[in-house]
Subunit: 267 residues, 2 copies
């Protein structure tokens, strides 16, 4: 039996993504706890969000993969995010004074919240927010359909997010790379030398001259001071491809930190 951990509780969007990986699902309450469960061999795979098309990167996922764990991205899953206004049965719009959700869901529905003059409050997850409003007529939550059903609540208004381009990318992490499929992506992290001008420009040039397409470039603070960054780059190709191996060797020679986060099939 293959066990899979995910960022719980049940009813989160990560739960929805984890359902695509397998049946034996184990919720954990924080992203580092999910990654730790894979690291400790409690489970074979862990599912965590890594970026959202509106809100951007999930910092704790990127930072944990960069600094705390040596795990591999084994697979990626992209889920369209539709946020719903969840209320107790029979509640109307004019009853609602307070709204609860994860900070990213609150941010994704900012226009709806402002327009309806409801006071936002942060919760640790959309599912926890949904659970916490049970029995309160003047409280609403933002969350998904699974969570509303799970707790016997109603959806008063569907698709309340600010834009329709809302999707979250999840990664399935494990201790091993995915075998080569011919349509793969590789994720790496690197730091450039601060004292050499054009550092990032030179690294991007390595991809350019090998005609390798970048699918993502993200900067994160290196935690060593303002203006010092780690770069998270995804590109087409698998670590078993010889061109990818050449590129990684050249990047390694020109950066002071390089970590390969894994090769996996493009979603």
């Amino acid at each position: 039996m293959t066990f899979i951990s995910f960022l719980g509780p049940k009813g989160t969007f990560t739960h929805e993504a984890a359902c695509l990986v397998g049946d034996e699902l184990v919720p954990y309450c924080t992203i580092p706890a999910v990654l730790e469960s894979v690291n400790n061999d409690e489970v074979e795979f862990g599912v965590v969000p890594i970026e959202n098309s509106i809100e951007g990167p999930v910092g704790i996922t990127l930072d944990s993969l960069a600094h705390k764990f040596d795990l591999k991205i084994h697979r990626e899953i992209i889920i369209p995010i539709n946020q719903n206004l969840i209320v107790n049965p029979g509640c109307k719009m004019e009853d609602i004074e307070d709204i609860y959700s994860h900070s990213q869901a609150i941010a994704q529905c900012q226009e709806f919240i402002n327009r309806n003059k409801i006071q936002p409050h942060y919760a640790v997850s959309t599912a926890k927010a949904t659970k916490d409003i049970i029995g309160f007529k003047n409280k609403a939550a933002i969350g998904n359909r699974i969570a509303a059903q799970l707790y016997g609540l109603e959806i008063l208004e569907a698709n309340i997010q600010d834009t329709d381009n809302n999707a979250t990318r999840f990664v399935v992490v494990s201790k091993n790379d995915h075998e080569i499929t011919g349509r793969d992506k590789t994720s790496i992290i690197f730091s450039i030398y601060e004292d050499r001008p054009g550092g990032l420009y030179n690294i991007l040039g390595i991809f350019q001259k090998n005609s390798i397409n970048l699918t993502k470039i993200e900067s994160r603070p290196s935690k060593k001071g303002l203006g010092k960054y780690l770069f998270f780059v995804d590109f087409n190709g698998h670590i078993e491809d010889s061109v990818v191996q050449d590129i990684l060797r050249e990047i390694d020679d020109n950066t002071y930190f390089l970590k390969v986060l894994g090769s996996y099939p493009e979603y």
Copy 2:
């Protein structure tokens, strides 16, 4: 009299930054409300956080400056962030079950929270969290010294943040650029054409060939779908410098979106 708005309530780190700008301070409860107050001419300057050395960019500030307001960055202020464990007078470590703060402050003190097995809860600001624990012996807040004093609370442990490289960069926004001082920075946002390979590489090459040093590069989702980014770049120079004008003209010719956020003295 020059009025200055800031992200309140009183006692936040932004309050500390705003004190360096002037005396007539007006707190607003969200970052868009601060920016709106400048846009509406209610105040001349507004002070908001833009990035933290540990947690990274403040998404709502970057997104608001990119999409919602045509304001100028007039000045930057960098403040070292020292987080403190704030409790009611006489409370001891073993009394504390729950800890409240802004999500960034919680993230900055993750190791301290894990080590002491305290349950974290999110609040809209460090100051609001501090105010909310008044009278509760089993609750603590994470915040700054000003907030603890303001509400008659005690600091049980100082400097509880995970690393000592913790600093936040604030920007003072107004309707006008700052005059040239000879030691200036310029902030811009641009989007590259998705269908042209090496887009970012080519833009960075424009800076490289003009020997202009980038002090920051940050990517943010363009909100148009996964893998589509806006790039926020800070570089040395003022918009009145002829070399900066040449660079901006060349970038404009090679991007489908360019916005100059302002030129201001380096902190």
